[in-house]
């Protein structure tokens, strides 16, 4: 238990309030950060000292601390994003056992939206994700769960259309003949036969 550090050092940390602005994901991520767990299980294992993240250094007695000049403006040396990502979002081999799923921290929907990859923007992604997913589908599931994909890929309902538009029914003959390969990912012939009885 190193919790007595907290009493000593909290007095040094004049403002940690500068950490979070209102639109930030930080408050929600920080509620998940278990300082004591990291301090007991993680930091010694990786040989990381308080000063890797913080603007202060412990003195040799391990009980008192020496403040760096800019401690007044921030408790950290780098942005909190970098603090966490250095272990949780890295390819570095020494951190291979660190949980890497983005959803541990960016879990709620609002936070997940903020880290949406750039290639996802706009409607264009719908017609281009197939290739990315075919090559490296495992990377998608760092953020996604398959039920998100199932909505377009497997599920069928005619109330709220997920993949086509209402008018598609009247134009699918033209589209199927323009790009006939596009239907194969989700439909087989029986689906069409349902409406096209005589075929």
């Amino acid at each position: 238990m190193k919790s007595y550090f907290f009493t000593i050092i909290t007095s040094l940390l004049i403002s940690t309030g500068t950490l979070a602005d209102s639109s930030s994901m930080l408050p929600s991520i920080m509620t998940k950060f278990d300082h004591q767990m990291h301090e007991e299980k993680v930091l010694p294992a990786f040989g990381i000292s308080c000063s890797t993240c913080h603007n202060f250094e412990l003195n040799a007695d391990q009980k008192t601390a020496k403040a760096n000049p800019n401690l007044a403006t921030s408790a950290f040396k780098m942005s909190v994003k970098e603090v966490c990502h250095q272990c949780h979002n890295t390819e570095a081999p020494q951190y291979r056992n660190v949980p890497k799923s983005c959803a541990i921290c960016h879990s709620d929907q609002a936070a997940m939206q903020k880290i949406k990859p750039k290639n996802h923007e706009n409607t264009a992604w719908k017609s281009t994700h197939a290739l990315n997913a075919e090559v490296a589908s495992n990377t998608c599931f760092n953020c996604h769960i398959t039920s998100q994909c199932v909505k377009c890929h497997v599920r069928r309902n005619d109330i709220e259309l997920k993949n086509h538009s209402r008018n598609f029914r009247f134009t699918h003959s033209v589209i199927a003949r323009a790009q006939p390969q596009k239907c194969d990912s989700c439909h087989v012939q029986t689906f069409c036969v349902r409406c096209h009885l005589g075929k």
């Binding site: 890497k100 409607t123 309902n157 008018n167 009247f170 790009q179 006939p180 194969d184 087989v188």
Partner: protein
């Protein structure tokens, strides 16, 4: 399945998931339910009242050793036909028998991870991880399920092996290889052997090019089913230029699950697609996509296909606006249309959604015509719930006056156990 059975099943499933919260270790439980109800006339002007319920639950332990996944839906129509339907889309587990070394999984899965292309199957699989988990080698065996065929009836048995490799870099080279053998349970249908190879790498030079390659080879038919190459260029951080070229061919084997492609085309298809996307501001993005296809229609005749799409997405404070114009042309005719959808948040807990889609088409089978679709929905949020009520108006060749009432209730929750 009867709706009573569906209900019992639902109850059992939910009661399976609740104890997770209590019994399992640190992790994230996500649950989502979507209930959809509509009142409308069908094309014979008879009243219908379809109701769909979709439920999904996922549990992921923080240390990534356990993943449980379930997803099902059912359909009833209390007023109209007595149709009902129950579908189990997914019901599976994934467990690290030896952490970071051996993963076992099983159950009904629906994803593109192990199989060549998207497949739903009941399977068991074993994966082994090497090189700090950068290399995964695995195998699976299972029964393929096709939702479209008599509700997940089994048509074929599948066995396969796959490997994934990535190099150790910020932008790694990804390699993937798969092989699968499909044995049909239908007389006279030949077994199918499919292999696939894919690669993907982003280069840290100017324009940060990302190169993608996906290919499938059908060993039984001795043909390349698909080869697709892609190049994504980022000349500036705001501008993306994507290129895709592909060749594609599947062969019909006269079963009821024939690929759509083989019904329409008699031979190889080639496609080239180009796309530019510009982020004028982080909240205003536009993109233009053009594609050209060419395939063998009959023994000697080739057909061409064109697709064009221009889309705008605009996100001012409190608004979500999508606007899209599309054009398709094939020997079947042409389609030209525009679509706009607007969502406006009102205070913190309400939203209004309006959309309009107008399509003009000229088909070889029928005269020129138009189809209109207008939707208006009001939404209200509570903590984990969202209720949407509204209506839709359509006017088209089948019904000139088609008014539908819609309601949707969404439940979404994520519970953490720390």
């Amino acid at each position: 399945m009867q709706s009573r059975e569906a209900f019992i099943f639902t109850f059992l499933l939910i009661s399976c998931f609740l104890p997770w919260e209590v019994a399992l270790g640190q992790g994230l439980l996500t649950m989502e339910s979507e209930s959809l109800f509509s009142l409308r006339n069908n094309f014979d002007q008879e009243l219908e009242s379809p109701f769909y319920e979709f439920f999904g639950a996922n549990y992921k332990s923080n240390d990534q050793t356990l993943n449980l996944n379930s997803n099902f839906g059912f359909f009833v129509d209390p007023v109209g036909t007595s149709d009902n339907d129950f579908d189990l889309f997914q019901f599976n587990f994934q467990y690290d028998a030896i952490k970071d070394r051996i993963t076992v999984s099983g159950g009904r899965t629906s994803d593109p991870v192990r199989t060549v292309g998207w497949t739903t199957l009941d399977m068991v699989s074993l994966d082994m991880h090497f090189l700090e988990q950068r290399l995964t080698v695995g195998g699976f065996a299972g029964k393929e399920r096709l939702l479209d065929i008599g509700n997940f009836k089994n048509q074929a048995d599948l066995v396969g092996a796959h490997m994934n490799y990535r190099t150790q870099a910020i932008n790694p080279l990804h390699l993937s290889g798969k092989f699968q053998h499909k044995e049909f349970n239908i007389q006279d249908k030949r077994a199918e052997n499919l292999g696939s190879f894919g690669a993907n790498k982003t280069f840290e030079t100017s324009w940060s090019p990302e190169v993608l390659l996906a290919s499938r080879y059908n060993f039984s038919a001795r043909e390349a089913q698909k080869v697709e190459a892609g190049l994504d260029l980022y000349p500036t951080i705001k501008f993306i230029n994507r290129w895709r070229i592909m060749t594609y061919k599947t062969t019909a084997d006269y079963g009821i699950e024939d690929p759509i492609f083989s019904i329409i085309s008699r031979g190889r298809l080639n496609e080239v697609m180009g796309q530019v996307e510009n982020h004028w501001t982080p909240r205003f993005i536009s993109s233009l996509t053009l594609a050209y296809d060419d395939y063998l229609l009959q023994e000697t005749r080739r057909a061409e296909g064109y697709r064009g799409e221009f889309s705008l997405s605009y996100r001012p404070e409190l608004y979500k606006i999508n606007n899209k114009y599309y054009y398709f042309k094939s020997y079947g005719g042409y389609v030209l249309g525009g679509e706009i959808a607007l969502t406006r948040q009102i205070f913190d807990t309400n939203e209004v959604f309006v959309s309009e889609d107008i399509t003009y088409y000229d088909k070889i089978t029928s005269a020129k015509s138009m189809a209109y679709n207008t939707a208006l929905m009001f939404g209200h949020f509570w903590k984990n719930l969202k209720l949407q009520i509204g209506g839709e108006f359509n006017s088209n060749n089948s019904l000139t006056y088609d008014l539908r009432m819609l309601t949707k209730l969404t439940y979404f929750s994520q519970m953490e156990r720390n």
